[in-house]
Amino acid sequence: MCLAIPMKLVKKDGWQGEVELRGVRRTVSLMLLEEAEVGDHLLIHAGYAIGKVDEEEARLTVEGLERLAGAMDGEAP
């Protein structure tokens, strides 16, 4: 029930925003995230943007996993 989907903000008009994911567009409320700007990836839950996706943190997570998987490959069988 707490499912939330990251979508990109493509239009902003006051508290109203238009978000997009793979060609699907939706109107959402930005009432809980006034600072959102066009181009941001937002976390959408029940018609509201509740948070922002931090691209830098996302990159670091992936890098960490790459290192881990690489270390595993390097291990002796």
Partner: protein, 368 residues
């Protein structure tokens, strides 16, 4: 972002090996509870519960808001429709959950107006188009959902929608964890914390687990790698004798959460004691409406509510606190299935019983 890596088999194997090393270092198996329906589902789907045995036992806790909603809540909603001709608006998850005498689904079949909505905001349009009768939004969900309902309520105020009501049923996760952390029978080693609840509350809201109970915890996302990183973190902390709240979902979760969402909740809701199915009444774990919002409080409308009755034989309550696993319930699979559910945990796709039935049953019974 390279999302495929979060599902990648190599990554998952590397994490699994690292977890096994930490369990060896600790010298005993670990018990870790997840308290988020989406985690429960992801764990079942990826087969992580089996994959981590015997070093780590993953236990599902009360992470599905619909499942922990007591039967008396649904009974009151039905009474509002019967006594006041109220039009009920609900998230789809609640629609088929059994009440004492039926369900919202059956209520609608009997002629009541019950609408399934995606957003609480959609209920505003319903209220605007039906000014002659009360329109009641069934406000269930954890901290992820509560601020969206608060925002809709604020908008209803500004639109002057006097017929818009909420039936308050929101619950807050930290208070439930406090109860579970203190339960000596569960013997937990740590918690996987709900990622999207934490978007609102912030990871900091769970720091008390380490401070007061000496338990490690980790905020994690929803891919197999995310979840295994959390397990690894808890195992490592246990092995090193630490007890902190690690935020491993930094791509969307911050320490302080969403301050605007929290402020709106604090303005329109007030903490109250709340009943959780299976866990009983937990002090301060519910969100009632603040005085300012009283004119929209459907729980203040008089209603003839029958005494609550749980389905006979159903062990949902024990499943929700991790005391038993779904197959230990005599109704599991026969007659209780996702198609004809008896208990709440089988209704919601995020319920522990539904997750077991859909994914983990095969590993127990063998493939047909």
């Amino acid at each position: 972002m390279e999302e495929t890596l979060l599902y990648d088999r190599r990554t998952v194997e590397a994490l699994r090996a690292a977890i096994a090393r930490e369990v060896d270092r600790l010298g005993r198996p670990l018990q870790i509870m997840e308290v988020c329906g989406t985690h429960t589902h992801a764990i079942a789907e990826a087969g992580l519960r089996e994959a981590l045995k015997p070093g780590v036992r993953l236990i599902s806790g009360p992470g599905c808001p619909v499942c922990v909603t007591p039967v008396s809540y649904l009974d009151r909603a039905e009474a509002l429709a019967r006594n006041h001709g109220a039009l009920l608006c609900t998230f789809g998850d609640l629609f088929r959950v059994p009440s004492s005498t039926g369900s919202l689904e059956r209520l609608r079949a009997e002629g009541a107006d019950v609408r399934i909505l995606y957003s609480p905001r959609d209920a505003l349009a319903v209220a605007r188009d039906n000014t002659s009768r009360p329109v009641v939004f069934l406000a269930v969900g954890f901290e992820t959902t509560a601020p969206t309902v608060a925002a809709a309520l604020l908008e209803a105020e500004s639109l002057g929608l006097g017929n818009f009501y909420l039936l308050p049923g929101h619950k807050t996760v930290p208070q439930a964890l406090r109860l579970l952390a203190a339960d000596p029978a569960l013997r937990l080693d740590g918690f996987l914390l709900p990622g999207h609840v934490s978007v609102v509350t912030g990871a900091g809201a769970f720091a008390f687990l380490g401070r007061e109970f000496g338990l490690p915890s980790a905020v994690v996302g929803f891919t197999p790698a995310d979840i295994l990183r959390g397990v690894l973190e808890i195992a490592r902390q246990r092995a090193e004798g630490r007890a902190e709240t690690a935020n491993l979902y930094g791509r969307v979760v911050t320490e302080e959460g969403n301050p605007r969402a929290r402020a709106l909740m604090e303005r329109l809701f007030r903490p109250c004691d709340a009943e959780w199915r299976g866990l009983g009444v937990i002090p301060g774990s519910g969100l009632g409406l603040a005085e300012e919002a009283a004119p929209h409080d459907a729980s203040l409308l008089p209603a003839e509510v029958p005494p609550p009755r749980e389905p006979r034989g159903c062990r949902c309550g024990e499943v929700l606190k991790g005391a038993v696993e779904p197959p230990q319930c005599p109704l599991f699979g026969k007659p209780c299935t996702p198609d004809l559910p008896v208990g709440a945990c089988m209704v919601s796709s995020e319920g522990t019983c539904a997750a077991w039935y859909r994914h983990e049953r095969w590993r127990l019974e063998g493939f047909p």
